[in-house]
Amino acid sequence: MMSPFLFWFFALMTLIFGAAVVINRNPVASALSLVVSFLGLSALFMSLNAYFVGIIQVLVYAGAVMVLFLFIIMLLNLQAEEQRRINTLASAGGIGVAIILLIQIAVTIGRFEAARQTFPPLSASTTDDVRNIGAALFRNYNLPFQIVGVLVLVATVGVVLLSKREPR
Amino acid sequence: MAITVPRPKLNWRERLYLPAIVAGLAITFKHFKNMLLGRTKVTMQYPEQKWDSSLPDHYRGAPALVRDEDGRVRCVACQLCEFICPPRAIKIIPGEIPSTDRFAKVEKYPEQFDIDMIRCIFCGMCEEVCPEQAIYLRKDYAITGFTRAEMVHHKEKLLEIGGVMHGVVLKWNEKK
């Protein structure tokens, strides 16, 4: 486990940059904030001994998904949103709903006994968690894995169809 | 009207590209190797070695003013070079030759003759246009200076580069 200081550091990094995604007007700045947020999240994953998931998080999100986002933002040449008149009521409503949701979850967590416990120590080394996840994936979750594969294939076909310009 | 260039049909070996790439790499490596062994050394080590001796006759280096066999500055400040100069590098201020002078008949001489060598493009038009055969492109090419002002060749400098020109048309003899 990592020290509380590092935990809070990465947690705050995740949250602050996550909030920056929503607050920033410039889509490029939003995308970059999201990258930083994901890097913090990845560090949190690693603090939970989930090295594989952590690195996949960086590889897939920071390395591929966000580059795709940036590519699209630049391809469409999206400029910073102009300062539209903010609908105060709607905004307050949105924030209010989000806060209510947060309070609900927080209360639920507070009532949850296990939440107050620390993480139990691991008796075995997790350094080979790639092998373990692989084993779980291909032994216990083989069918879902195949289904996800089909889903990705369908998504690929869909993307190709969607982004194809109709020949004139 | 665009021209469509037909692309050659490639067979499968050519379409693999690898042989071509390997061949290309082999060629460049051969050059690398030869150079490493000092076989194909074509670069001239400039400041130590110079190709002055092999400069062609038509080489266009720094423009310069010449004197004739009598030691007179051939230029009569007609300002045609100033007019023709494409980058406007030449600046002439004409002066009048005093009537006591041996060449008073010439009447005019360049009081100032500046060529801004930062501007000069060595096109040779000044040489071509000069009616008095007074300006020539010499073979000097290493024209350097630390300041802009240093790069302006004044009359003295131009005459120093130019020297004396023999065997050109002598216009200012008595006959004319």
Binding site: L32, G63, A64, V67, M74, T127, V130 | T28, F32, M35
Partner: protein, 353 residues
């Protein structure tokens, strides 16, 4: 965490940083010399004997140049981008084993179990430096360079990842030290039959491994923006691409990033396919510190040779067109790497290597 670990790690970090930065500056010098030699020229040969102090002169020149920020640029991102370009390339080297052991200390900064994934994850962040640099310059050619770069990275990262899967099928572990150890025992992956000459399966295995190596190397060219895939900075089309508006040290950082990425890429190729620090007949560091040093030397010699190949290719092949690059990445390398995985898997299944 014990004290000795921290100290040795710090020493290793400082050591490798110094070596990498020196190598970067000398890679620039080497690039100029190699390109000159290939073109029958001499290259820089004035500063010091045979021009070896040229990088120092270059460094001073770049440091002293005017640092210019375009007025229309997005200043914060404009300054951030060059740093983003350098960092990933240097961080990546942390997981690469550059030697066996020295005084019992393993010669790798972080021997993580997800080594190759770490490499890919961090290397893929390198694109941000270029994309943001191109975008923040607020100028059309850098912008085009940035867009090209992002598309190019996405296209080639897939091939890059798929190409190394055969290696890890054989090793059964993502740890890079395991890869090296496996190669010491079973022969380098580029020549898997070495030491086991009579096994026909090993000879058969050589074919997919060479394909794997070629795809990986070519994808690495694209990943490091080296010719023939230097579209983001194509001088002839984009006037320098993403770094057009950069000057002075910020430009130098981009340069540094490119060469650091090239060195890291070479180090990874050497580790994955050429046995890392191993050379047949030379024992590892446990037989004495002198051998440990020799191992490190072997590793860097291999890396240097790889860098030479990078340069050699650069000065031989012309640049790809953008559509050709995309077609090559998606319609050729992707497929061939995929098929390659199945071929290796089949060989493994039937031959039981």
């Amino acid at each position: 965490m014990d004290f000795a670990f921290v100290v040795t790690s710090l020493l290793k970090i400082v050591g490798i940083l110094v070596v990498i930065l020196t190598m970067v500056s000398y890679a620039v010098y080497a690039e100029r010399r190699v390109s000159a030699f290939i073109q029958d020229r001499l290259g820089p040969n004035r500063v010091g004997p045979a021009g070896v102090f040229q990088p120092v002169a270059d460094m001073f020149k770049l440091l002293l140049k005017e640092d210019f920020t375009p007025r229309a640029a997005n200043t914060f991102y404009y300054w951030l981008a060059p740093c983003l370009a350098v960092m990933p390339a240097i961080i990546t080297i942390a997981v690469v084993p550059f030697g066996s052991t020295l005084f019992g200390v393993p010669m790798v900064i972080a021997d993580v179990n997800i080594g190759i994934l770490f490499v890919f994850a961090i290397a893929s962040l390198g694109v941000y430096g270029i994309v943001i640099g191109g975008w923040a310059s607020n100028s059309k050619y850098p912008f085009l360079g940035g867009i090209r770069s992002s598309a190019q990275m996405l296209s080639y990262e897939l091939s890059l990842g798929l190409a190394v899967i055969p290696v890890f099928l054989l090793v059964g572990n993502l740890r890079l030290t395991s890869v090296v150890r496996y190669q010491i025992e079973h022969g380098w992956f580029i020549l898997p039959f070495v030491g086991d000459w009579t096994n026909p399966w090993k000879w058969l295995l050589a074919v997919p491994m060479i394909i794997s190596f070629l795809v990986f190397m070519i994808a690495m060219f694209a990943e490091t923006n080296r010719l023939p895939f230097d579209l983001p900075e194509a001088e002839q089309e984009l006037a320098g691409g993403y770094n057009t508006e950069y000057s002075s040290m910020k430009f130098a950082l981009y340069f540094l990033g490119e060469y650091a990425a090239m060195i890291t890429g070479s180090a990874i190729i050497v580790t994955l396919f050429f046995g890392g620090w191993h050379f047949p007949g030379i024992p590892d560091g446990s037989h004495g510190w002198i051998f440990g040093l020799i191992n490190i030397a072997v590793f860097f010699t291999k890396v240097s040779l790889m860098i030479f190949i990078f340069m050699w290719v650069r000065w031989t092949l012309p640049r790809f067109r953008y559509d050709q690059l995309m077609r090559l990445g998606w319609l050729f390398f992707f497929e061939i790497a995929l098929v390659n995985i199945f071929v290796v898997a089949a060989i493994l299944a039937y031959a039981g290597i």
